[in-house]
């Protein structure tokens, strides 16, 4: 029984881990181009999921809800970049940290007033009936869809970066902003694109996870800290690695909440984050930065 329980925790934890990995992947995209991340990304996920929910409840078919959600996420990402990031980056200050927190704060207040503070279920055509994968451990189609969806998006974005001109431009800005600008690439546009993609990815993560966790203003805070942990532990500079760390963290916290108590669910991520910062500040997969004079 104990073994089966642990196995079950492993599966459901891994499904959540995929979601953390996806949001963390979004952080890495904006960090690569602009050395900044959206501290209100959790709120972005929440707002875009709420909008998708409203669309689904008003009768829009699921096949249209997903692209709509992605568009909303991209739009919100662009909004964050324009309103909270661009100004601070132009001043070469870290003001964007505070500015994105402020936007998030506004978003959460607005969401509480528009959609209410209660958790709401998210409709999905994908089945919830558990399939036995051997040894009495079950996996639901929803959980499978999360894993598949996350992998699909990551592959698509890699394709975009490697094989499209626009993607290469974004990569060029990540590698060396000044050199890219001298080649006629607009860094501002590249940064905006990275924020739009990051927003779309985060929105998709929301749509994938919402059938499991339900939608509510509190989903922002719980999601964001873990995505932060994954991004930092894997390394903000490195593109890969987030999936491994994300799944690992998902499993770890699912086990922690099962064995120690549900109140402790968040602690593994936080401890992991502080440990990683203390021991390997550039992340497991990150590279050390050389101080230049």
């Amino acid at each position: 029984m104990e073994l089966i329980n642990n196995g079950q925790m492993l599966v459901s934890g891994a499904a959540m881990g995929f979601v953390y990995a996806l949001v963390a992947y979004g952080f890495q995209m904006t960090y690569a181009t602009s050395k900044s991340i959206n501290f209100g990304q959790g709120e972005l996920v929440m707002v875009s999921t709420f909008i998708s929910l409203t669309a689904a409840e008003s009768g829009l078919p699921y096949a249209l809800v997903v692209p709509l959600g992605l568009l909303v996420g991209a739009g919100l990402g662009l909004f964050v970049e324009r309103v909270a990031v661009r100004f601070a980056l132009a001043q070469k200050s870290e003001g964007w940290i505070l500015m994105t927190i402020i936007l998030g704060l506004f978003a959460i207040s607005a969401a509480e007033n528009i959609w209410g503070k209660d958790e709401r279920p998210f409709p999905t055509p994908i089945g919830r009936a558990s399939l036995d994968i051997g040894g009495g451990i079950g996996v639901t189609p929803v959980e499978l869809s999360v894993a598949l969806g996350v992998i699909l998006v990551m592959v698509l974005i890699e394709v975009f970066r490697r094989w499209t001109l626009l993607g290469k431009a974004v990569d060029a800005v990540s590698a060396d902003r000044d050199a890219a600008e001298l080649m006629g690439i607009s860094a501002t546009t590249a940064i905006a694109i990275s924020y739009a993609l990051s927003g779309a990815v985060a929105a998709f993560a929301g749509i994938l996870v919402a059938p499991i966790t339900s939608v509510g203003p509190s989903m922002a805070a719980t999601l964001i800290l873990k995505a932060f942990s994954v991004a930092v532990v894997a390394g903000l500079q490195s593109g890969g690695g987030v999936a491994v760390v994300g799944i690992g963290l998902g499993i770890l916290e699912s086990l922690a909440s099962f064995h120690i108590g549900s109140g402790w669910r968040e602690t593994p991520g936080l401890i992991l984050l502080i440990l990683a910062l203390a021991l390997r500040p550039n992340g497991i997969f990150g590279k050390a930065i050389i101080r230049k004079v």
Binding site: V83, L105, F106, V232, I274, I290, V293
Partner: protein, 664 residues
Amino acid sequence: MITKRQATEATALLLMAVVPLVFGGNAYIMGLITLVVIYAITLIGLDVTVGYLGQVNLGHAAFMALGAYAAGLATTKLGWSMAPSLLAAMLVGLVTGALLALPALRLEGPQFALATLSFASLVVILLNELEGLTNGAQGLSLVRPALFGIKLSPAGFYWMCLALLSLIWMGMRNLLSSHWGRSFEALRDSPIATDAVGVSVYGRKVTAFALGSSLGGLAGGLYGFDFQYLQPDSFRYDLMVILLLGVVLGGRKSLWGALLGAVLIVMLPNLLSARPVFATIAILGFVASLLAAWHRRRISSTISFQAAAPIAATGLMVLGGLFAQSLEDWRKAVFALILFAVVVGLPEGVMGCVERALAGLFRVGRRPLPLPCSLDEVLPAQEPDQEPGLENNGAVRLEVVGLSCRFGGLVALDRFNMKVRAGEVHGLIGPNGSGKSTAINVISGLYPPATGYVRLDGRLLPSGNLVRAARAGIGRTFQNLQLFFGLSALENVMVALRHVYCLPLPLIMLGFGVREEETARSEALSLLNLVGLGDHAEIKAQDLPYGAQRFLEIARALACRPRLLILDEPAAGLSLPDIKTLLGIMDRIRERRIPVILIEHHMDVVAQLCDRVTVLDGGKVIATGTPGEIQTDPEVIRAYLGSIACTGGACTGVANNKTSSAAC
């Protein structure tokens, strides 16, 4: 003598102290003003990191929580009285602050903010889950303990808080006007240069962060004794946002700003409950941002983000004030809008603007400069032994053995050897990319070497550590200027005068640092005279002409009393008269018999100044000798000009012209 500033502060303190005599019976007003004082203490603490260190700290609410619970548990479980409980709260803040800062402050930017954010979440989870100790989410009731056996009335408690605030205010004032405050400015301008003068950026940041956290802990303890009830959730994200709002709105890097911020955040909830007042203030804000935009419009024709954003934010607030059903429900959104408008439109905060306006009205009298002290006191001449300059004469001061340094696949330095003798000016030349800068960066501890070691006066030099190398006696300048641009020339030099500052931090906070400060001023002035900047002592480094900035870097490096001075292209970009001044400065340095490594592209300068020259190419030493020997060395000529087969004087003449024009 009482200055204007002290008089203002004393008046404010007196005014705040008499409030209970007037409104003592009014519990509501007493509650408000007590909270203002407590918030002022915590905001002063938060301002240390957010303002003076310039790093976004999202963990301050957690230190308040830890302090509150430490004091609360000390009274409820251990029966301690007021003073020891508050001391415990402060210590808990200090220790946990240091523990968090040790790993976290090695990080910059977002990683630091993340570390503090996750620490804050962790603390709230722990307080909630450790029910045996903290009562968890149910909360902890406590009774305000007696202070030295006296039971405190609400007014008594308020006066105690006010007394603590005044002490902290004085301590911070002393700290900020000492070399500590100056190093905060310096490390924000150029952390590398701060390290290079032997003032550890990391050490200063950790100490300052722990200090700020201890104030958070103390304020938390007071907060607990004020409300006499504690709940982990009152120290969540919301409190952090309110605290940040206080610092940003009041004005960063200002004690008055912290006090003003405290007043504003205590007033805010009351503001939200009175709609007409809120709407009026929102409209005033809207009009103010419109006026500001109109004012700016006259300067530039396009409407900037900085002008538009506050209009949008205050406009939304006006709409909210007029149409929202319940402002209380939109509390967070209102905070967000205010913060947004202030961060973008009023980055210095309210106090910053007030101070700027006041500075225009009353000119603050400058402190007169002291007399410069004698140069022998500042820079004792180093052991005068044999004649310098002659081959194998004079004791070896610096010995570099087998130094290698790689960046990925690039070998920047390959088994580099070099000796610098007492009183010698040793040139280090080579074509671009030959490894000169890497060599001095490894010697001065900026990069760790892959192999090899450096000895200074027979002792092994710590490798890969800028601060420790500087403390061991390496002074250096930078190829790209690394001045503290916001500080005056005098202050730039004072930052580096480590040998003058011996007092421990607590004594400085108690105000004993004044004498050291006077000594430092006169020593710094004497060094400025040495480089010919004595008349420019009070000019900000950023306003000095380019040549003077280069000389200021030399004066700053000398202030470390270096046992070896490294000058990285001091003549780069200098005009002819400036080069003459530089030669004069070098003569005076030579008189003090300080060994010098000089990287330079101007061959005439090298020939004139250097006793010996080492030539690098591709990371390897290709020649060593007197300038005359070097100029005729075929290997050197090949490195500079390619493999032109030639011998004799005609070719070296070409080499000279080529290299000196290449440097321009």
